[in-house]
């Protein structure tokens, strides 16, 4: 089934006819700078289409994200992008940047070679220089000048996005996992101000329905000691208020989108009060909500994540004081590191165990796309750390020849296993 946001790059120009866009793939690209230069940063993700053009450029042992992104561009689906920005993360992205340049010679394709040794004493001054070079390139290419005010503005707008998404994540258990990821996806496609307003509105809507629910949850708790009939009634009430919040989300984010997810309203299946095994997702990206649906359908509940399209996107705000470029450099060095960065493993591993504790997670699910080296490298030591901490975990390798049925069986077995623990 086509997901509204998976193909939304295609109708981006129709939705935002008066906006200019620059594409990127990885959360190490400072969107703030693109925003300040008057562009909407548009994040490319893997599309569902079969690869038609990229095979002639990238070998089969290249990750599906890189192959699909290039494929979309070669298929002419990204014509609205006035440029592409590649940060230095993994070897694949490094090559992809150059392949992109070769194949789109007139396009503004540029790189930000972020430090790998992010904790090193000289990383900050190097990154500041590199970010300034990036700024100059934008200015030269588009004949603009980016002021510190504009950068400050970009920082504030993106901090607001981070803050709002942070608030949403606190209510994560009230939002179906797929909707949660859809909203995150929207945040990387829409003009940020527009997104911020929508999300703020939605949070308000949620809060009022939550209020109703809190009351009813309270009631339902107390009603346990009363009659079952009462409890059922309050349950229903919860569902209704949640459902109205859900349709609010949909109308806010998905309006005008064809291929609306098939009639099914994920909220209706989300039983907050039920005992669902609580899971944490770990991996580079989630491109397709079907895995989340599967987990949910089998009775699991995703309560937190360490995924680049998830929490890793909105953590760590940028300081709004002082020189904006310095502040940006600092944020990109201090954020929870991705596995491509030196010294990242101990921090990731500590953070993961911390997440598991805070969220009382009962299991961790690694979602590893095939040929993603950095995440494949971290899997064994993370798994070991989880073993030591007594947190069960499951490895799901995606982009494999594993059938949906096998995937289902593995998740089911895992959920059963942790439910009995």
């Amino acid at each position: 089934m086509a997901h509204p946001f998976l193909d939304s790059c295609r109708d981006w120009p129709a939705r935002y006819p008066n906006r200019r866009a620059i594409g990127y793939l990885c959360t190490y690209v400072p969107e703030e700078i693109l925003h300040a230069a008057g562009f909407v940063p548009v994040r490319l993700l893997k599309a569902n289409d079969a690869i038609a053009h990229a095979d002639a450029h990238l070998q089969s042992y290249c990750c599906a994200l890189a192959r699909s992104a290039l494929d979309q561009a070669l298929a002419g689906k990204l014509g609205f992008l006035e440029g592409m920005v590649f940060p230095h993360t993994c070897d694949t992205i490094q090559c992809l940047a150059d392949v992109w340049r070769v194949n789109f010679p007139g396009l503004f394709v540029t790189t930000i070679v972020q430090p790998v040794a992010v904790e090193g004493p000289h990383a900050q001054s190097y990154l500041v220089a590199e970010l300034r070079r990036f700024l100059r390139r934008l200015e030269d290419r588009f004949g603009i000048s980016v002021t510190d005010e504009a950068l400050g503005d970009g920082i504030r707008v993106h901090n607001r996005t981070r803050q709002l998404l942070g608030q949403l994540s606190l209510r994560r258990e009230q939002v179906p996992a797929t909707t949660y990821f859809d909203i995150l996806r929207a945040s990387t496609l829409m003009p940020k101000e527009e997104f911020n307003d929508l999300l703020a509105e939605m949070l308000l809507a949620m809060d009022s329905s939550l209020l109703a629910k809190n009351e009813s949850t309270e009631k339902s708790c107390s009603s346990r000691f009363l009659t079952t009939e009462n409890a059922e009634n309050t349950e229903k009430k919860v569902k209704i208020s949640a459902r109205s919040a859900c349709s609010a989300v949909k109308s806010l984010f998905f309006s005008g989108v064809k291929n609306e997810p098939r009639g099914e309203n994920a909220f209706t299946t989300s039983k907050v009060t039920s005992r669902r095994p609580r899971l944490i997702l770990v991996g580079p990206y989630l491109d397709d909500p079907s895995l989340l649906k599967l987990i949910h359908g089998l009775g699991g509940q995703v309560v937190a994540d360490d995924v680049c399209t998830g929490s890793r996107y909105f953590e760590t705000p940028v300081s709004e004081d002082g020189d904006p470029v310095q502040a940006l450099a600092q944020r990109y060095l201090e954020r929870r590191p991705c596995p491509c960065k030196a010294g990242s493993l101990p921090r990731r591993s500590e953070a993961l165990i911390g997440l598991a504790k805070v969220h009382q997670a009962e299991g961790v699910v690694f979602v590893l796309p095939k040929f993603c080296d950095p995440h494949a490298w971290d899997y064994p030591p993370l798994a070991q750390a989880l073993d030591k901490a007594g947190v069960p975990h499951l490895l799901l390798e995606t982009e494999q020849t594993v059938s949906g049925e096998q995937m289902r069986t593995r998740i089911q077995a895992f959920l059963e296993m942790i439910s009995y623990q």
Binding site: A56, C95, G120, A123, Y126, R133, P380
Partner: protein
């Protein structure tokens, strides 16, 4: 014996002895000298000038590959949960670590230090961190920003500042100090060895070429593992004389040179001789390659830290596809090659992803045919003899038609 198709170099035994002595020294005769595992692109001159003994796990991987022993090591790493899609040098190394002295060649000696430079790939970072955890050994990461267009002044400053850190790091963990005079001497050995290696490669412009790809691959070992030593200089002098003599006497590396080819990427170690024999049989000799030339970089004169920073940041694997495409093109022209063969090495993504575009561009610009062979440098499980043979055959037919 496929090796009969190759004219053996007289100094082959000297090479074997040299490499054996290096490993023996690493294990038994260091006399307290601290041992560092280093990546192939690490600024080893600094380490040697601080009396640190470097060993190269990548070279160990290549040796195991050539001996057909890498797969078992890879499997050992996979049994620990490491994906079979990761670099096979790295997997071999992880496998070796877990096998200890039972590993081929007795394994690599335990490191006192780890020095990892990411100018070749991002894999080494993860690999050395794994080694650092395994041995509980301090690791230094030298971060050399990738060059997509030009090397910037601030990159050089960034790397030079880290080299100062590296000196402090080594001093802290070994108590050894940097000896400036020794550093000068070592840099001079490095430059002599690389200049000789470069000249040896240049001699292959002769028709027939005095060396073929397997010769280049086998004889590159000292330029990596012993670069900046007197021994390397001595060996390359000897090799240079021998190769020069071949040229003077019109002796070719292969019996009948009909075609001259350029090779791209790391060798297919487990088939080193057999693979190239398919070409030898058809009169095709590899007169140059992009890989073994990668270590022929001279250290410029001037402030040593800056020169080291400049040189080690500019290694070819740390530069754009465009740069590497140009390099291949230059080699084809400089060595009057009739075609080129690219090894799409699934172990090494940074070297291989983008080869399709390079191939198209290069053949277009210099009008010689190229072919891509899918394989892996150490993991023979992904190698398909039949497929490879078919591709080579088709390519040779193209050459015949073009010739």
């Amino acid at each position: 014996m496929t090796e009969k198709r190759y004219k053996k170099l007289k100094c082959a035994e000297d090479l074997t002895r040299l490499v054996e002595r290096h490993y023996a020294k690493a294990r038994y005769f260091r006399f307290g000298q601290p041992l560092a595992w280093v990546t192939s692109g690490a600024p080893v001159e600094l380490l040697r000038a601080m009396d640190v003994f470097p060993v190269y796990p990548e070279n160990y991987g290549a040796l195991c590959g050539a001996r057909g022993e890498a797969v078992a090591l890879c499997q050992a790493a996979e049994a620990q949960g490491y994906s079979g899609d990761l670099c096979s040098y790295a997997r071999s190394s992880l496998g070796m670590m877990s096998q200890g002295k039972k590993a081929p060649l007795g394994g690599l000696p335990r490191p006192n230090l780890l020095v990892c430079c990411n100018n070749i790939c991002g894999t080494v970072l993860k690999w050395y961190e794994a080694a650092s955890r395994f041995y509980d050994t301090p690791l230094f990461v030298l971060d050399t920003p990738f060059i997509h267009d030009q090397l910037t002044e601030y990159s050089i400053q960034y790397v030079a500042a880290q080299l100062q850190e590296l000196v402090r790091f080594v001093q802290k963990h070994t108590g050894r100090r940097l000896n400036q005079n020794k550093l000068k001497e070592i840099i001079s050995y490095s430059n002599q060895a690389t200049a000789l290696w470069q000249e040896i490669r240049e001699l292959c412009r002769a028709r027939p070429s005095p060396l073929n790809a397997p010769d280049l691959f086998v004889n590159m070992a000292p330029i990596v593992v012993l670069r900046s030593t007197k021994e390397a200089v001595g060996f390359y002098r000897q090799l240079h004389a021998e190769v020069q003599e071949r040229v003077q006497r019109g002796i070719g590396a292969i019996p009948q040179e009909r075609y001259r080819l350029v090779w791209d990427n790391i060798a297919i170690w487990y088939r080193l001789y057999r693979f190239y024999s398919y070409f030898v049989d058809r009169g095709a000799c590899f007169v140059a390659d992009t890989y073994t030339g990668g270590w022929a970089m001279q250290l410029q004169a001037g402030e040593p830290f800056e020169c080291l920073a400049r040189t080690y940041t500019s290694v070819f694997l740390n530069q754009s596809l465009e740069y590497r495409g140009q390099l291949l093109l230059d080699l084809i022209q400089h060595f009057s090659a009739d075609g080129f063969v690219m090894h799409s090495n699934r172990s090494c993504k940074p070297y291989s992803l983008g080869q399709y575009d390079v191939m198209r561009q290069v053949s277009q610009r210099c009008r010689v045919p190229g072919v891509i062979i899918e394989a892996d440098m150490c993991d023979s499980r992904v190698y398909s003899e039949e497929q490879v043979k078919t591709r080579i055959q088709a390519f040779m037919e193209t050459l015949d038609a073009a010739g």
